[in-house]
Amino acid sequence: MKVAKLSLSILLILGVVVAATASLSFAQSNPRYINLGSGAVGALYTPDSGAYSHIGIVVGHPTSNSLGCGTGWATRGFLALCFNTRYVANETAISWETIILDVRSAVNFVKGQAGITKVVLVGASGGGPLMTTYQAVAQNGSAYCQGPNKLVECGNNVAGLPRADGIILNDSIPGYGINGLRFLDPSVLNEAHPELINSNLDPYNLNNGFNPAGTSNYSDNFKQRYHRTQADRMDKLIDTAQRRLRRAEEGRDSYTDDDVFVIGKGETGPLFRLDLSIAHSTIKPQKLLKNDGSVVIQIVESVRLAAPSVGDLSDLFDGGARLLTLRSFLSVRAIRAKTAYDFDMSSNNNSTGYHLQHISVPLLLVSSGAHYFIRDNETHYELAASTDKDFVVTEGASHTGPPCVPCEQFPGQYANSAINQMNYMVNWVNQPGRF
């Protein structure tokens, strides 16, 4: 915030009471509603003082409501636009290749605000692939998201996107297709009857290692079979969707444009939520942002707890199945893979790791220390083409930042996770010479 620091000093001279970065005097009282068009909407947060950094913040997620996200930024002196895409609350309707147009609307809006010279994209969770898709296309052009290897290609309507100047990913998912793959329950034998399963691949079978009261322990052999069969199921789902779509387009089905695509047990097969030995840590020593605000370098282990209750949803439609269409499945939840951990990131347009290889602006990756994306985020860091890049794990943070209280060994052990993380992000943005 180099310009803002200078401005601040001037304002102080003028007698305006403006305190240092995290002061409550910056508090945002009421965010301003912004209509971004095409169904996208935003909430604009600014400090009540009226003075803000020259670096604007854009925060969004493909389907979750992000409109309440800006107070932390505004209280630290930033203008932040939190936006919802046209597909908020409706994954069924998503065209991934269209959604980035809503990011463009948000970026253009912030760029148009008085005094803003730089824009940083902030993608939390599924906002990670959203923001990286946008920036990769902005830096490389529409051809980047086209090609015969893509399950779905973007159109030329995404040409000419204005580039952002930096990206912060907060516990980014590796991609919707990758998550779609890893959350599949591979024991399903018949897609029309997901209740019929292969018990040898049932993650909730005690004989396979399931523990309904805590951490499950699956054998290496089981894990290998499981992860390979997840890819097999994904391949079959892709083949089915593509075949049905071809039939539709050829006028040989009930509709010519799209159709429903339901994946039973599509959300209840994440083995890493049951067996904590999977995706448990970084591979190399990495930064750990500790609860006292200090940063140490070490192999960072996730302190997350097992979630055997996922099994309670396994049979359900609400929470257990994915209700999609042929097109939204192929665009959002599909990826070509050999196993759940060996996949072709370039086969879809929503893989964070693939996009980061084509992005050059400054990048900060923050991972939540009590969640399961630590290794994914380390991979993102390793793959990222940006020369100015940083990676830190927030100790004891549940997904995207709040403290994981059940993970604590003593009360308050991780109580500062969200504030520490926010301050870390702000300090990164304010680093002299970065923006």
């Binding site: 200078l6 401005s7 601040l8 001037i10 965010p31 209509n35 169904g39 009226g50 803000y52 509709y255």
Partner: protein
């Protein structure tokens, strides 16, 4: 230079944000924008909400704000996703909006003493349902003849809803099951698994039945009768199918133990009255017509000036736009109603999503507005006739389409002043001494 830049930031900020811009507020799972006049301390607040549509920036928000009212424009917990809607639960979001204004939860609405609900389009059944339950209690929405019932315990209980002080209906639906499903489904479908196969005798897009792809269609009375009965027959069968699935779910004899997808092809577009404007063409009695010159003529039957739209044939055959992607629960709660024909043979109280059934319970002042270039004129006349309220009014706004904009191509124009006339009329109704 630095000094100037710093000043510029400060001044730009103070100038930009000194206005009464709409502010965003999160009301639990619902979203809201608050629109306040730039001066005065209004005593009447308006809550605007639909079912799934984004109303955060609806034209009424700024129009009524500019006429001196505080307006809270809301999206429900089910915005943008029809498949998720459990209709009865939306009343909880209306309650949140009423409390937000009455209790001055934001600190921005200190003078509000009265709250009026704004039921536009699908917001009509939403707001009328809320008020009916608020006035007569949950017994109303737990009537066993309804296809689904509201809750009276737990986090979604509708016990003790605070009453609103009035309702403004703006081209309100008679009910989502009625307009969205019963009158929109294509009754020529005879196999739900293959909605592409149509029975010729009920096909609305067959020229032999009266369809005109280039303009106004003209169907025989015999065709209309069997079409409307066919629509009822199809929806009754769909309802029976959904109830059967629900039964098997409850028995543990279905692939899922809780809910199931429910897809209905050719179910959104086939409104015969969009093709043949002789159907639902106007009021049955002389009613108020708010004319483009702002005068009111109440001496005539009011006919819709709407134009036919034969292009719905293309929508009908598509998945996106023509089919409904629902679940068994959202279908039964929000899209199903019993009937013998789709026009005047409706068992209005078989669904909680029914403006007609709801207004029979409501006693607060109500204003019904129908758009003169659309097809809800007769429905809103029925709402007016059925409303229990002693203080009630009904007016048709000349030449406006459902989006509250003038129909430039419609006969009898111009209608360039009608939008302003409409909002002025509503403001005058709200401001009438003694009403609120």
């Amino acid at each position: 230079m630095v000094l100037l830049w710093g000043l510029m930031l400060a001044l730009a900020g103070s100038q930009s944000f000194a206005q009464n811009f709409p502010t965003y507020h999160q009301l639990g799972p619902a979203k809201a924008t608050l629109w306040r006049p730039t001066s005065g301390t209004p005593t009447i607040g308006i809550v605007v909400m639909h079912r799934t549509s984004n109303f955060l920036n609806l034209g009424a928000c700024s129009q009524m704000r500019d006429r001196g009212f505080v307006v809270l424009c809301m999206n429900t917990r089910f915005d943008n996703n029809e498949a998720e809607v459990i209709f009865e639960q939306m009343a909880l979001d209306v309650r949140a909006g009423i409390n937000f204004l009455r209790q001055n939860q934001s600190g921005l609405t200190p003078g509000i003493t009265k709250v009026v609900l704004w039921g536009y389009s699908g917001g009509g059944p939403t707001m009328s349902f809320y008020q009916a339950v608020a006035e007569v209690g949950v017994g109303f929405c737990q009537d066993p003849q309804k296809l689904t019932q509201c809750e009276s315990t737990g986090s979604t209980s509708l016990v003790g809803l605070p009453k609103a002080d009035g309702i403004i209906f703006v081209d309100a639906h008679p009910g989502n099951p009625i307009i969205g499903m019963l009158r929109s489904n294509n009754p020529a479908v005879h196999n739900e698994n293959h909605p592409e196969n149509l029975r010729a005798r009920l096909n609305p897009y067959d020229p032999a039945n009266g369809y005109n792809p280039n303009g106004l269609s003209t169907y025989s009375d015999a065709f209309k009768k069997r079409y409307f009965e066919g629509q009822s027959d199809r929806l009754n069968k769909l309802t029976a199918e959904a109830l059967d699935i629900q039964f098997h779910i409850d028995q543990g004899a279905y692939p899922y133990p809780d809910n199931a997808p429910f897809v209905i092809g050719r179910s959104t577009a086939s409104k015969l009255f969009v093709l043949d404007t002789s159907i639902l063409h106007g009021t049955q009695k002389p009613r108020k017509l708010l004319k483009n010159d702002a005068t009111i003529d109440d001496t005539h039957i009011v006919d819709s000036v709407r134009l036919p739209d034969p292009t719905i044939a293309q929508t009908d055959e598509s998945f996106d736009g023509g089919a409904r992607l629902l679940t068994v629960k959202s279908f039964l709660s929000t899209n199903a109603i019993r009937s013998t024909n789709s026009i005047d043979g409706i068992d209005y109280c078989s669904s909680n999503n029914s403006t007609v059934c709801n207004v029979r319970q409501i006693t607060v002042p109500v204003l019904f507005n129908a758009m003169g270039a659309y097809y809800f004129i007769r429905d809103n006349e029925i709402h007016f006739e059925e409303a229990k309220s002693v203080d009630k009014d009904f007016v048709v706004i000349a030449g406006l389409v459902h989006g509250i904009t003038p129909c430039n191509a419609c006969p009898g124009g111009p209608y360039n002043n009608s939008q302003k006339n409409f909002y002025d009329y509503v403001a005058d109704w709200l401001n009438k001494p003694g009403r609120f």
